[in-house]
Point group: C2
Chain length 172, copies 2
């Protein structure tokens, strides 16, 4: 089995965080397609604890950018997707965070497959309550991540992973 | 954009939990390919907090099966993949659980793309310390999930998701 034989394995390997974007506008249809794909993640008891906010507005993006050291990424993105845990639909914090992580990975893979670039910003969680206030969302929501999206300026980001013999602790 | 035009969107939509398996053995190469793909998930600071245990041994699978109400699934699977958080490589529990969730979604999508069936078992976390003991793993590991894998007996599992207007709370 060659990785290049499977478009899914290829996408999983080739997806990179994109932090520099072109100014070209992003189609709303593509964003909806990607969020819909994100929602097909698995969750415990199929509780689907993820919720989304889509932010195109420049002033609102500026206000969020001020809450993270990655301000320039949020400013240069065409659109931000806030991803939240709905605590009223939560049944187990650990499992719900995992489910939201699965949902985020679907979102990133879907955006990649649509030729968009994106980066998962977690550092903004240090100001998660401020994000809820600025967006005037109910307090039952907990910010899980902000995903910055745009047309990639380039795709030459490199990354690396630990070899399998460091990751597989036991085989029996 | 039709979902059927993109193999990645198609896989995200068509992947289902598989809970009934055929007896045919599963190739070790495919399991390694899927775990390697799983490791290409994103993580905060690229800390890669995920670790894996691969369990083919029938007696060991029986011992783990006794720890969950889904015993029959663990017994009938060809192989179990335990997925752990390495607490010594953890920097933020919420973000690390999300990263492990992204890794699990990669694993499930990769297995699906390799024509294998799998189900993410979270219910066994109620006995997570016992799993560590039975597998004789160090206590710095926290069980995050067990994924049961085999050749699917069928793929007629149905599922549903909330409509987008229930998931998108704000668009501005």
């Amino acid at each position: 089995m060659q990785i290049s034989d499977s478009p899914i394995l290829k996408a999983i390997h080739e997806r990179r965080s994109v932090r520099q974007f072109m100014e070209a506008p992003v189609s709303r249809d593509l964003i909806m397609t990607a969020i819909e794909a994100a929602s097909w993640a698995p969750s415990g008891l199929n509780n689907q604890p993820w919720r989304f906010a889509i932010i195109w507005d420049k002033a609102l993006r500026e206000a969020l950018a001020a809450l993270t050291r990655y301000a320039n990424i949020l400013q240069s993105a065409s659109v931000l997707i806030g991803v939240f845990l709905d605590k009223e639909n939560s049944y187990d914090y650990t499992k719900d965070c995992q489910a939201v992580g699965a949902c985020l990975q679907n979102l990133l893979l879907a955006l990649h497959s649509l030729d968009l670039g994106a980066v998962w910003i977690g550092e903004i969680l240090k100001n998660k309550e401020r994000v809820i206030e600025i967006l005037k969302l109910p307090e039952q929501l907990e910010l899980m991540a902000v995903v910055a999206v745009g047309h990639p300026a380039h795709r030459n980001q490199k990354s690396h992973r630990l070899p399998l013999d460091k990751l597989i602790l036991l085989e029996k």
